[in-house]
Amino acid sequence: MFQRSGKGNYAYTSARAKAKKSRLLKEEDYSKMLMMSVPEISHYISEAGYSKEMTELGNRYTGLSLVEYATYANMAVAFRSILKASTGELRNMVEAYLSEWDFTNLEVILRGKNYGLPVEEIREDLVPAGRLDMDDLDDLVAAPGVEETLDLFASKTGVRVSDEAVAAYRNDRMLKDIEDELAKTFYRNLLLSVGTTTQANRIFRTYLERVVDAQNVETLLKLKVERIGGEEAMKYFIPGGQEVDEKTYAQIAAAADVVSAGNEMQGLKIHNEIKGALTDNASVLDVVAAIDRYNAELANSVAHMYPLSVIPVVDYMIHKRNEARNIRMIAHGVDSGLDVETMKGLLVI
């Protein structure tokens, strides 16, 4: 990937990120939204900064779909404005962080192509919040097959999937090897993009290493909820974490269920934060919400340390993503008649 030189405009970008963060929805907004119907939620978020997207998408979607697409469209615009505003090494880091969306979009396109979905349906699920804008993603969607899409993605981003993963896809027409490799590539590139020359960058790197740990733990717990372990689980291990190395991961993977996996994790920092969700009848949703809360707290704990660094910028992006997630969760919960207390438990604030 092309690397920019120069220190970066930390003061400008972090001031913009902080101003954007001050306009995010607060806890009391979510409390009000929990009492509303889906149309009322649409109206409420229109007045809370989502009006442009709600108007643009209002003639194509209604109800729950409108809330879903508008929240992600708004988030994509916000993230790309931060990306465009940043320069130098700051842009390298922001770009590497946001490339998660490029990988997510690529996976959506590959899955769509693999299952023969129409172009319009694939396009609807894309979130152009990363380095690739909608035109680039349209090019990827227009590519005739999975392998051509991967080649085009490589020419646009410099990220090439290994021949082994492509060969495995040719063999069984399953995308899992390609997707695993993309996830690992994302975290490897992200960790590589953060230099260790300044104290702020070192703190950001430590934060990212703990995020990798959280990701590994989340994968393991999701597998444990489904009673999957051993060799199958080892394929999903992402290297680069702070505490969860391959050996620790294997130990947790060998546990019989969620509770015994929790016992194996007792020495880890993350265990204290998520132990409430580690019960016999834990659902994937509970585990994911607990890990998201842990990630938000992790970001909060470092957010105010270095005002002129990448940290407040990433802190804003985490909170913005949680906002989109919370609005969608409330809209879905209200639509399916979920009780307020359950929805409150799933909020990440």
Partner: protein, 80 residues
């Protein structure tokens, strides 16, 4: 430059250099301080134009350093 009994009197010249340095270095320091404040102020105003007034106050705060330099320069020239 006044020459008295074959010795050059450079006092006035040194005072002028000192006054110039006082204002000049204070200006450089102010500029360095205003660089980040200005960038952050523009960033904040881009997102929320109502922050213009507050941003301006923070923007001009380092100007006081130049005033200190100017006072020293005036004292050097007129008081000493």
């Amino acid at each position: 430059m006044v020459v008295t009994e074959g010795v050059a009197d450079v006092t006035n010249g040194l005072i002028a250099i000192g006054a110039g340095l006082a204002v000049g270095l204070a200006g450089v320091g102010t500029g360095m301080a205003e660089k980040d404040i200005g960038a952050a102020a523009i960033g904040a105003i881009t997102e929320d134009s109502s922050l213009f007034g507050r941003s301006m106050i923070f923007m001009v705060l380092p100007e006081t350093v130049v005033i200190f330099g100017l006072v020293i320069a005036i004292m050097a020239i007129f008081v000493m």
